[in-house]
């Protein structure tokens, strides 16, 4: 086993462990903080995949903005933080079964695919992902339409959220 594989396994276990804490913790602020840990683990996974830009963006967007939005929303919507009512449905076992079946089904389907245990080719020398990304995001023959549509989507989200949450009547 190489060093890279050991690092991957540690990070993957950390990520999955904190993800489990996210869905099981009673205190919602703790759940949000565990989400931060999970997302940080995912950022490390991106770094292992040689996608440095994605790793930094993951930290900037998820930890810097989305996690904070979650914490603010929790603060805005709780009556009592120490509520002792059950945090899960009555039929939580059915949910667990569906989730487990989804996981098994996904792995089973993927396993029959020929490229399942592919190994990565080396990164080409002088390959600059960010520069490539900039070119493709603005090139009319590539992804300029998603680029502009993303802007419209964000506008719709901002206007919609402001309207829905704080429309003073």
């Amino acid at each position: 086993m190489t060093g890279e594989q050991i690092i991957f396994l540690i990070v993957a276990l950390f990520t999955l462990g904190s993800a489990l804490m996210v869905v099981t913790t009673r205190n919602l602020i703790h759940a949000a903080l565990w989400l931060v840990a999970t997302l940080f683990g995912v950022a490390v996974i991106y770094a292992l995949l040689n996608a440095g830009f994605m790793a930094v963006v993951q930290v900037v967007v998820y930890i810097g903005a989305i996690a904070i939005l979650f914490i603010f929303a929790v603060m805005l919507t709780r009556k009592d933080l120490r509520d002792n009512t059950p945090q899960t449905n009555k039929n939580w076992w059915a949910g667990a079964l569906v989730a487990a079946l989804t996981f098994v089904g996904l792995v089973f389907t993927l396993q029959s695919w020929s490229g399942f245990s592919k190994t990565a080719s080396a990164v080409p020398l002088g390959f600059d992902a960010i520069s490539q990304l900039g070119e493709q995001l603005t090139s009319p023959t590539a992804y300029v339409l998603p680029f502009e549509v993303a802007s419209v989507l964000l506008l719709a989200a901002l206007v919609g959220a402001v309207y829905v949450a704080f429309n003073k009547k």
Partner: protein, 117 residues
């Protein structure tokens, strides 16, 4: 070798040193807790009620606008890296992109959501 390994080393050492400093304080400092000392400080007055007070919706709006512009920056940084080698069309695309989002800022502003109330 992956350059992120160095960043990981920085994170590790950056945690070790504050932990060491705090541990030093823990070792050398006196430890005589009592209920009065451990009560929270509220300007010398006895703490009243719950600390988890209800808070203002304005914070959520600020975080919301920030989130939107944060994601916008994610799209714009690759654009900014490449813009020096691309033609005028790329600049116009950037102007359209930012322009659409500024509409959102203006909407929030006109709704009076950017005021600190």
């Amino acid at each position: 070798m992956n350059e992120w390994l160095y960043v990981a080393l920085f994170i590790v050492v950056g945690m070790i040193i504050p932990i060491g400093a705090i541990a030093a304080g823990f070792i050398f400092g006196p430890k005589k807790p009592n209920p009065i000392k451990q009560s929270t400080y509220e300007c010398g007055i006895e703490p009243v009620g719950e600390a988890w007070i209800q808070f203002k919706a304005q914070y959520y709006i600020f975080a919301l606008v920030f989130l939107v512009f944060d994601v916008e920056a994610v799209f714009l940084f690759p654009w900014a890296v490449k813009i020096g080698q691309l033609g005028l069309y790329a600049v116009i695309e950037g102007i359209v992109f930012v322009g659409i989002l500024v509409v959102g800022l203006v909407y929030t502003w006109r709704k009076g959501m950017l005021e600190w109330v």
